[in-house]
Symmetry: C2
Subunit: 235 residues, 2 copies
């Protein structure tokens, strides 16, 4: 477990070359640039011009490092102040959270909340809950809305990020010489006719669609439902 109290204080010695912040940033840069599996103690330390074992003065284990990275990234998901339009505010918060997940696809492998709540995660939570303040909801109702919204957004963005990652991996496959790529497995499944509904889901849309628009539309269904119980009906 990360010691968040210690992580918040500045370094004890003046000649400290490393810091929690620098380590978290380095880890995030490695993960964004070279993929989640490249986040090794040695590579992150190299990125900082330090020795691998130096990181252990700040972090108990590799898992702790990942927790540190996740908390730091959640600072990017802090929602702006409320405007009084709950629907617009929640939509904005959802966009920000989705964008963070797509910008850091490795969150699919180590979620923001995997290591408990760090300081930035707390701030992010508070900022989002604040958007729900002032509509006569009690705290339990606000939590209902918040947990429902976050579950949808994280689930949705994780699936999107995974599809993008899979696509990227397939693209960087060098397409070996004389590959004779027959019909893909999913093509043959679709052609079998035994999965009339699923085929359409697996093969993707006929015409390209705007992922952001699709997200907004589906988010809208959820907000409609929340409106029905907690606000004055949909739209």
């Amino acid at each position: 477990m990360v010691n968040w109290e210690k992580a918040g204080r500045p370094a004890r010695a003046a000649r400290a070359a490393l810091s929690y912040d620098a380590i978290a940033t380095a880890g995030i840069e490695v993960a964004d640039g070279q993929g989640f599996d490249a986040v090794t103690m040695r590579k992150v330390a190299d990125h900082l011009g330090a020795g691998a074992m130096s990181l252990y003065r700040y972090v108990d284990s590799r898992d702790d490092l990942l927790d540190l990275m996740a908390d730091r990234v959640s600072a990017e998901a802090i929602a702006p102040p409320r405007t009084g339009d709950w629907r617009a505010d929640l939509t904005g918060a959802a966009h920000i959270l989705r964008d963070v997940t797509l910008r850091h696809p490795w969150l699919t492998r180590h979620a923001i909340t995997a290591g408990g709540f760090g300081p930035n995660t707390v701030t992010m939570t508070e900022s989002t809950l604040t958007l729900l303040d002032g509509y006569g909801l009690d705290i339990d109702e606000m939590l209902d809305v918040w947990r429902t919204l976050v579950a949808f957004v994280q689930g949705y963005a994780s699936a999107e990020a995974q599809r993008l990652e899979a696509h990227r991996r397939r693209a960087e496959q060098p397409a070996a010489d004389g590959d004779e790529t027959g019909p893909s497995y999913l093509d043959t499944v679709a052609a079998s006719g035994r999965y009339p509904l699923a085929s359409r889901a697996l093969l993707g849309p006929k015409r390209p669609v705007d992922p952001q628009q699709t997200f907004d539309r589906r988010l809208g269904y959820l907000l409609d439902g929340l409106a029905h119980t907690f606000f004055a009906g949909p739209r």
Copy 2:
């Protein structure tokens, strides 16, 4: 990438001791029993009484093994036939998917769809989409409903599974001799008063609540919203 065509056919030689099915099952048993990090080639092979390298006759890499496991587990999430009550049917499918995720918490670390769609994942998809057939929705609308629902359920269940895992890890910590556990970090954050809303979210409910009931209530909000657009209004 897993070769699903090959994985579907029975073994070529009669004297084959291993099989795709046995390997996937062994991997799942190791993951369920000893945690996701214990899923190593050697441990899974040991579980089968086989040598580590034997697995590579069936699987290209450890990642392939995980894909195999994920597809096999998705067979547990196949929805029952439709009854004509869309809301009850979708609720049932959501329960099943949530249960699978809670039963195999490692899905949080390697999602069902991480390795593309295998045969069981296709069947599961078809079974869920079938629940939406017969209400006058076209395929794109059915996909809207399905993707929205799955995003919520997987996001929600993943968060639940992660909280349970974290709790379990903390419980098996031996509570070292003379531990002097002062107030936890979250306690001090809550006591600071600077996060009035988030504190309540982080410390958990005052009285114990039934997680299943809470899930149903929040799922209900989403279904209300879907009803508003695709069916004849909420409830």
